[in-house]
């Protein structure tokens, strides 16, 4: 499912990023490697999307959150 649809507080695993090489590399550098588990700190209800990956907080803009595919962890 796209990251956009994930509720605050949920943990997810990164499946794929549907954007060009540059963005994928940039996100990988910040810790978002395929298969990494991360937490959605502040999701769609609260405004901008903030995630916590490898201990660091990242803010993601509107245009990307629909292009990041994740699987929820139960």
């Amino acid at each position: 499912m796209p990251l956009k649809s994930v509720q605050s507080g949920k943990e997810v695993i990164l499946q794929d990023i549907d954007w060009g090489m540059r963005l994928r590399k940039k996100l990988e550098d910040m810790g978002l490697t395929p298969g990494v588990k991360f937490k959605v700190v502040s999701g769609k209800e609260f405004g901008p999307c903030i995630i916590e990956v490898r201990g660091t907080r990242l803010a993601l803009g509107r245009n990307i959150v629909s292009k990041i595919q994740v699987n929820e962890v139960n």
């Binding site: 954007w19 540059r22 963005l23 590399k25 940039k26 996100l27 990988e28 550098d29 910040m30 810790g31 490697t33 395929p34 298969g35 990494v36 700190v41 502040s42 209800e45 609260f46 405004g47 901008p48 903030i50 916590e52 490898r54 201990g55 660091t56 907080r57 990242l58 803010a59 993601l60 803009g61 509107r62 245009n63 990307i64």
Partner: protein, 657 residues
């Protein structure tokens, strides 16, 4: 250690700059890396009678060939003659920070790891076994709290050890067996190719990662070792880092962001975000104009009455010719003095803006505004330079460097001047108090708002026409809120104030002299204003402004002089109408004859929107590296100013006169 060179490398927000400021103090110089617009800071660290040369590299997350800052950092480390790379990391966020560390070690130069912000790590219940971490990594590790100066001595000692040791370079980082095998292969094959200038292991890894720069250097195509070499290597790095952390770090507490979170719950909350930001900005402007105003008034009297008066009588008594006295007093002191009186406002404004930046709040602002900005096709990071523009467009335009996308950056630069800077404020105040008594605040606010609206509209238009392209992704790290180091803060503010004063000392000084000459001379020598060069120039230009309601040569000339610096429009208006000694009442009388409320407002609209000052034009040229865009910005702003002002005057006259 004398004469040695070290480079500071690390992620943004890791306290690298605090360390740099702590080491070099005021002994540093800020410039640009050759040919590009990335800031380069270098300075001298004096310790134990030794002078160590320190270069602060741009904050980077990685060293790929994709971003300008990253290329600069890696090229510099490989090709320069630095002795040691000092890698500053945030000890409370070790996992992500070590990612760069692994890459720095691979470059082959000696690295010393500085674990900064150890106090915060401690507060979060993180304990790091520094000794064993150093053993494992194979490089010296220094715990530090840069803000308090703790650890600087230890850093010096370790640097000394490294610099004086004979040890051969070795890399302790080990990836998966399979990957290591490939690395060994390529290291053998290509490692020696480039005159041993590069570390073989690094070359091998870059080949696997399909690094375009390295492949070019070797003159080969990518051997396509994996489907995505970059992803594999990245994953390996993080695996290695995970083992390091498991072995040498202990977490006692789970929540790392508690305090910041509670603040963010309010400041980032959908409903409160924008109102709270509005409050913050209102507070800042209030402080700037009232507290700043107290100092400004006193400074005004000091410079323009006391000092100018003393100089005038002093020079006259010394028998100096009247024209020279006038040049010095009216021209130079009048012009430069006018600018200097605003230093308190500028200083306070910059103080608050630096405070917001260093504390981490600005990052939240960019985030909040991203939602709205993207509707206009702008990146959220464009918002901060826009806000800075309310202070002064020069640092604001320099602040567009945070936008990685070229198109985004150009749009931000071209629309920034519409954000009404501090220098235009006195003009608004002057005219508003004469023509809109009692409504000054609303009128001024309406102008600021108009500027913002035009900026957004033009940005939207640019996005759709000149700069069509893919929207750039908004990705930003959110550091926890921090209380900025006082010293760093002061250094930031001082740098900007110094810039402002320098501008006064040079550009405005020259301009004041030139304008004084233009207003006091014509071909037959010294004359009065009505017959001067200035009057002639003004009369030629004046008809352009007739449809806007202010087609007098005086207005034309004062607007022309405003291109040099907006601050002098007020002083020149008084001089041009021949009432420079008569104070506000004298000026009011004269202006009421020339303008009516509608044309006065149209005039202010023109002042708001037209070409900004010479300093801004200079900065635009520097940041865009292009005459084309610089000249374009000058002209299109005049056109927009004319059209909007025309609209207001014609419609306003129709409705109100």
């Amino acid at each position: 250690m004398e004469g040695r060179k070290i480079a500071l490398a690390g992620n943004p927000n890791c306290g690298k700059t605090t360390l740099f400021n702590g080491l070099t103090g005021a002994n540093h110089y800020v410039g640009n890396w050759a040919g590009v617009t990335v800031e380069r800071k270098e300075g001298t660290w004096h310790y134990a009678d030794n002078a160590v040369h320190v270069i602060d590299l741009p904050g980077i997350y990685s060293m790929s060939p994709y971003s300008l800052e990253e290329r600069i950092a890696r090229d510099f480390i490989i090709n320069s003659d630095i002795d040691v790379v000092v890698n500053v990391v945030d000890a409370s966020f070790l996992e992500r920070n070590l990612y760069l560390t692994t890459q720095l070690i691979e470059l082959g130069k000696p690295v010393v790891l500085v674990l900064n912000m150890m106090d915060e790590a401690e507060r979060k219940g993180i304990t790091i076994d520094v000794e064993s971490l150093a053993d494992d990594l194979g490089i010296p590790v220094v715990p530090m709290v840069a803000m308090k100066g703790i650890g600087v001595d230890a850093l010096y000692r370790k640097l000394y050890e490294v610099v004086t040791s004979d040890k051969e370079y070795s890399c302790n980082i080990a990836f998966d067996e399979d990957v290591e095998a490939r690395i060994a292969d390529y290291a053998d094959q290509y490692g020696k190719c480039l005159d041993n200038h590069y570390n073989p292991r690094w070359v091998a890894i870059k080949v696997i990662e399909e690094d375009t720069e390295v492949l070019d250097l070797l003159g080969i195509d990518s051997p396509q070792v994996y489907e995505s070499g970059v992803t594999v290597i990245t994953a390996e790095r993080y695996k290695y880092i995970d083992t390091l952390i498991e072995k040498h770090l202990v977490f006692r507490q789970k929540e790392l962001h508690e305090k910041s979170d509670s603040i963010d719950n309010i400041l980032l909350n959908r409903r409160f975000a924008i109102p709270s930001f509005g409050l913050v900005m209102a507070f800042i402007f209030y402080m700037t104009f009232t507290v700043g105003g107290l100092f400004t008034d006193r400074l005004d009297i000091l410079i323009n009455e006391v000092f100018a008066g003393a100089v005038q009588s002093g020079l006259t008594n010394a028998g100096i010719d009247a024209w020279l006295v006038s040049l010095v007093v009216d021209g130079v002191i009048g012009g430069v003095g006018g600018v200097l009186t605003f230093v308190p406002n500028i200083a306070i404004l910059f103080l608050f803006i630096s405070l917001l930046e260093d504390s981490g709040y600005m990052a939240r602002v960019a985030l909040i505004m991203d939602g709205w900005m993207s509707r206009v096709g702008l990146n959220g990071k464009t918002f901060i330079p826009m806000i800075l523009g309310f202070g002064c467009n020069v640092p604001a335009i320099m602040g567009t460097r945070t936008l990685e996308n070229e198109n985004d950056r150009l749009i931000a630069i071209l629309t920034n001047p519409f954000m009404s800077c501090g220098a235009r404020f006195p003009v608004y105040v002057l005219f508003a108090s004469i023509f809109f008594k009692g409504y000054e605040a609303i009128v001024t606010f309406s102008l600021y708002l108009l500027g913002v609206v035009i900026a957004l509209v033009m940005a939207y238009i640019f996005r759709r026409t000149l700069f069509k392209g893919e929207e750039s992704p908004f990705v930003m790290e959110l550091p926890p809120y921090r209380v900025p180091a006082f010293k760093s803060l002061m250094i930031h503010v001082w740098e900007r104030v110094k810039d402002y004063i320098q501008k006064a000392g040079t550009v405005i000084f020259l301009a004041s002299v030139i304008i004084w000459v233009i207003l006091n001379f014509n071909f037959s020598g010294m004359t009065d204003i009505q017959n001067s060069f200035g009057a002639s120039i003004g009369k030629v230009i004046a008809p352009i402004f007739a449809p806007l309601g202010f087609g007098t040569w005086q207005s034309a000339l004062s607007l022309l002089s405003g291109i040099v610096a907006k601050e002098i429009v007020v002083a020149n208006t008084a001089i041009l109408y021949g009432v420079s000694g008569a104070g506000m009442d004298g000026l009011a009388l004269v202006l009421k004859d020339v303008f009516n409320p509608v044309s006065a407002y149209a005039f202010l609209v023109f002042v708001l929107l037209y070409t900004p000052c010479v300093a801004v034009i200079g900065v635009i040229k520097r940041e865009t590296n292009s005459w084309k865009w610089t000249i374009f910005s000058v002209f299109y702003q005049i056109v927009i100013a004319w059209m909007v002002s025309f609209g207001f005057y014609q419609v306003g006259s129709f409705l109100f006169l």
